[in-house]
Symmetry: C4
């Protein structure tokens, strides 16, 4: 067929559009306080905090998505559907962050929050599998791949454990989530001197 | 005229922007429950379900749109207007899904839902006609074209029938819609060994 | 300076993003009716109508913007600011359409509506001036240019007159607006056999 | 590694998506007045004014962002995170503008407004540092760089001072902000004959 190959560019454009909407969804919730004082502004702290945290974590997810999509050479149907699943789980982040903040870190909302990150991580692993594990060896060194796989599985287990721990000790569960996210601040496989 | 040809890229960028907004419209409806329990979260199931279903079906429509636009070589006025009509009918999906869910599958909302899919399919057929039926024979095999045309007409009839059937038996009407969508999970013409 | 020239691509991407949000703003207003009957759906007709009309007219504006931007070779500061002014006036369309519909075509909302289109047209003329009148003669024939300038000035005057007429006879004012829009259905200069 | 270099294009696409959403966030607030008179429309002036002002200032920020990103040759992690910080501070503009307008220029909202611009400017300086100060000398003349650095530091100080002054004299504080923004209307370093 003389058709142009299915370039991954439109997949990126679409994903960027979805990320752009998601990262700003919570800004729609920010309403100017009715009284013109800083105190009134600070009284809205759960909304502020949840916006900032949700923004930061979606930024981390975008950075990792951006890093991964560089390996894409073709928008295969599998890649497309894994990407849709990933974006879907990311779209639950603003809601779950807001619920956690408004409930002031109650056990079940924190557990739900960890569960959403479990989903985000699981769908990210399927993207890693599709894009990196299938790539030729000379593109990604064996060592880098092993590190990325190891990191994914460990963080997935920690997010799962955090969802359970949070039911009893929400603060510890939240701390476990934050630790995992710090690991992803740098999208490259750690120790694999790019 | 020494002008650059009307490249279909901006048409894709614009469409992707619209799809990105539409696929996340219902996420704006998802509000954290006021009580911090899983039970309160589950009580919102109609909103949840309609978000998930609407997301999935818009994803299917996007995948087919993406597949089709690969055949575009020029943004002709006809293509542009067929595309606008397609995006318009897609934009009714979140609303109709939400109505179906909140009415707990009442006859008339399900019928309206099937009617919206009838529209989405009809405008998709006009895009197929514009992009594939007019393409040169060596791009798309005669067999593939025949299969795509056959699939379109059958699903269009089924959606139309579903809109009528749903007025009496909403569950059967909904089932008919879902069957048609499964057929479109793979955008390529089935049986046309790409 | 060895910098890449200021390509107009990012201007287009940004404009497409704004258009995509604007064209779907009114879909956010569409709420599923509380009763599960077609009658309840039809009772929302002002919202429906204003969404459909606003969608159609923004689509026309996009088509003309898309046509014009093909002439852009560089994102000059002037072009950027004319484009911002154009997008700003387009962003008032959903609101003014909704106001006209909910007031059931009262004189002042229709007049406001015509005034917004006057603005959209005026900023469009400044884009035409920037992109076409300054282009080299061999790109755009003298005849085409004369036709485009003539069309712009006539429609601008009609929109202005419509804003005044609507204060007394809203239906006639609305009719005048619709006539002008029909003229822009085909972005190319009419009679200038592309 | 045979991977494609991390092109800055996706960074621009994503940023444009975020800007497009932010610039139209306040248009979602514009509601048609309930009475069909111009008087009712004018009574909503704080919302109108804050939309227009916020639109204009985000447009200025976009123009400067667009100008700066032309210097980007690679989407390094540092650039990505500075960009996220910049977009975050820009996302606070609509809210702070609306608060200033609804409070009718009360001291503390104006001070908050100046503080947000302080943040926008500080993150912009980090982008300038990353993109221009690190560029090779032959790309950006030493003189141009000195002017850009000087302009940034001066406006940053003025925004900071404005946040303090506004607590006593809100109108003067607002005037100081507007002066700084005028300086950025032309993204190029002033006096550095491009």
């Amino acid at each position: 067929m003389s058709l142009a190959r299915r370039s991954p560019e439109r997949l990126s454009t679409f994903s960027d559009g979805v990320f752009a909407v998601l990262i700003t969804v919570l800004v729609l919730e920010l309403r100017p306080p009715e009284v013109a004082t800083f105190k009134a502004l600070l009284a809205l702290w759960p909304t502020w905090l949840s916006y900032a945290v949700s923004y930061l974590f979606i930024a981390i997810v975008w950075a990792n998505h951006h890093h991964l999509m560089r390996y894409a050479t073709e928008a295969t149907p599998r890649l497309m559907w894994f990407n849709f699943a990933h974006l879907f789980s990311v779209s639950l982040l603003p809601l779950s962050t807001a619920w956690m903040a408004t409930s002031e870190l109650a056990p079940q909302p924190v557990s739900f929050y960890a569960a959403v990150f479990f989903l985000v991580n699981a769908t990210y692993i399927s993207l890693v599998h599709e894009l990196i594990d299938r790539a030729h060896v000379d593109d990604v060194s064996r060592r880098e791949r092993r590190i990325m796989r190891f990191r994914s599985i460990v963080t997935l287990c920690v997010f799962g454990a955090a969802a359970l721990v949070a039911l009893k000790f929400p603060l510890i569960g939240l701390g476990m989530c934050i630790c995992c996210l710090i690991v992803y601040l740098k999208p490259e496989a750690p120790g694999a001197g790019t």
